[in-house]
């Protein structure tokens, strides 16, 4: 159970909507553009950036992201910063000309011999072990190891951890980002490089096993009041409940394409609470007759996106298959 974050940027209506899930550096204006295989991608340019946080304090991590640099040249900049508190640990950067470099804070550790090309989608992965003497790093570009070393000091703070990641910093060119994942090394699955992956978003298309909430607007069925697709309409159409343990489950559209492996299912709910008082939600997955719930997520009074990750099929506990994903139901439950 080591998938920590997945992000395909598909479900967001606009950048303001992205900010309901991620902290974006406000300088400049990120935009949503067409994604790598359709869908959407987040474009960032000069002084933009996106933070990943709330993933604990792993010593070992793997991050993967599709990246597309456009323009007439690649500018020297940071691509991925891994941070402990406010201090950089491993930082993956790019030099003008496209070669990648990796450093610990401002100490250069290595430079790749091949690199990014302009106007080309690449899948970039970084695996790091944070340690002040036996740290390691490995950078893969489109599945190929292009930069790695062991026995390195990768730990700027002495804490052997990261707890914040910044995607993109100080590039003067526009960069698209898509199909992002973050892992740690715990558990038996999803604890090493995944390779070039695609994150596909599917939306509710029918009510499921239980729909305990009350629908406001949005048609005849609860699934029709779910904010999915373009910009959410927030309090115009929605499903609501104030009762503990009330659940919502929905069927959804089928995955499309050919799949070798389904690494995980992430259930993203768009939620807020109406009044003061502690309320939380958990994402639910129902596969055949087996259900699983994610960790507790407390609610605020403003809408935000909350993710629940399910790395295995609740029915049997094995890896997900395309068929099982398509037959499953997903939703949320109310907790205190």
């Amino acid at each position: 159970m080591t998938m920590l974050i997945m992000e395909g940027f598909e479900g967001y209506g606009d950048v303001a909507d992205v900010r309901r899930r991620h902290v974006l550096i406000q300088s400049g204006t990120p935009t949503l553009e067409t994604g790598r295989y359709g869908g959407k991608a987040l474009q960032m340019s000069t002084n933009n950036g996106m933070y990943l946080q709330g993933f604990g304090n792993p010593t070992t991590f793997v991050i993967g992201v599709a990246i597309f640099m456009s323009g007439t040249s690649i500018a020297t900049s940071d691509v991925i910063r891994t941070i402990d508190g406010v201090t950089d640990n491993l930082v993956l950067g790019v030099y003008a000309g496209g070669m990648l470099n990796i450093s610990r804070a401002n100490t250069l550790l290595g430079v790749s011999s091949v690199g990014l090309r302009l106007n080309t989608w690449h899948y970039l992965e970084l695996k790091g072990v944070i340690d002040d003497s036996v740290g390691t790093y490995e950078v893969r570009l489109d599945g190929v190891n292009i930069l790695s070393d062991t026995g390195q000091d990768t730990d700027s703070t002495g804490n052997a951890r990261i707890n914040l990641i910044q995607i993109h910093r100080q590039s003067s060119g526009a960069e698209l980002h898509d199909d992002l994942y973050l892992l740690d090394s715990a558990g038996l699955t999803n604890n090493d490089f995944l390779g070039d992956i695609q994150i596909q978003t599917i939306n509710p298309d029918g009510d499921g096993n239980r729909n305990d909430f009350t629908r406001v607007g949005g048609g005849l069925n609860n699934f029709e009041a779910v904010d999915d697709g373009d910009s959410p309409d927030d309090d115009t159409t929605y499903n609501h409940s104030a009762v503990l343990d009330e659940d919502e489950l929905y069927t959804h559209s089928a995955l499309s394409g050919t799949f070798d492996t389904v690494y995980a299912v992430m259930v993203r709910n768009h939620v807020r609470k109406e009044n003061a008082g502690d309320r939380s939600v958990r994402a639910i997955t129902r596969s055949n007759v087996s259900e699983a719930e994610s960790a507790l997520d407390p609610l605020g009074v403003d809408y935000r996106y909350i993710d629940g990750l399910f790395e295995t099929d609740p029915q049997g506990g094995g890896a997900w298959t395309e068929t099982r994903v398509n037959a499953a139901e997903f939703g949320l439950t109310i907790e205190a």
Binding site: G98, L108, S113, G115, W121, Y123, L141, G143
Partner: protein, 343 residues
Amino acid sequence: MTMLFCEGFEQYADQADFLRSIWQTQSIGGITGFTTGRHGGQALQLHSSNESVAFPTPDAGIEYWVGVAVRFTGASIVAGGIINLQAQDVVQGALNITAAGELEYVADTQLDITSGLGLTIDTWYYIELHVLLDATVGELEVKVNGATQIGPLTGQDTERVQGPNIHKIILQQNLTNQPDYDDFYLNNAAGLTNNDFLGDIIVETVFPDADGNRNDMTRVGGGLNNYEAVDDGATPDDDTTYNHGNVVGDDELYSFGDLTGNGFQIDTVHGVGVTNHYRQAEAGVRFVRALARSNVTEVEGANLGVGANYQYNQHIYEVDPDGGGAWDEAAINAAEFGITIEG
């Protein structure tokens, strides 16, 4: 086995096509385009002072031989950089031309300058540079049209930046001479061949003219044979005509048009660079390898990553797979080249 790359700039249609190669534009100016090459074909034009291109060295080494044909097309010779060696983003050394048409090499300081060379406009010169980076025992030699003009110097401080590496070779740095470049090669010091100056070379490009021993991929458009769907020559048509496979182990091999020497006798074949143009249609871990077949012997290149957009990648075969000796013209003309899919 030390030829790292060769480039004749023959197959590129425009800047967008060029940027699919390992070359990357180094400044906001991009490139001017392509013009008729030194012996036919094409040459790269970098006609604005803010245009330059970078070749990333595949081994970040300390010793290289770089050869490239250069022609200055401006109204007069103006001082500027012809070949620039960089560590990370910092200059290690630069081969410059002065306003008088002399060549100088500058690391921390000017290490040497020619006297009486007097390069002029509208003339092709084949310029070769050998540099061994070191703070005390560095080496330097520059040849023009095969004749040594600087050095050979030994015991030099050729290492301007601490940490003796060269990460990229830059063509054109603040030149206003409107240079054209052609017939580029890059060697390092490893191995038993191609570890020294090659002299004035021609990089000739030949294209598929028939299907080869195996053509496992499925053709989309492009006539009756797979080779007809290969993007070669003019602007690639990308997803209009192509050959595709998603099965690991699927191979494509093609025969090629004969070498011509661009009108010159071929004395030596220093290497064969197989350049493939490819992309993947969906996410997943796939690699490709260049493939060469000579007589009945086949050799594959290293794994190359595949992205969602088309890219050019080259693998150098310095020796004939059939017997392991040097290539000759007849063996190349009879050989087949292509690509294989790896998982």
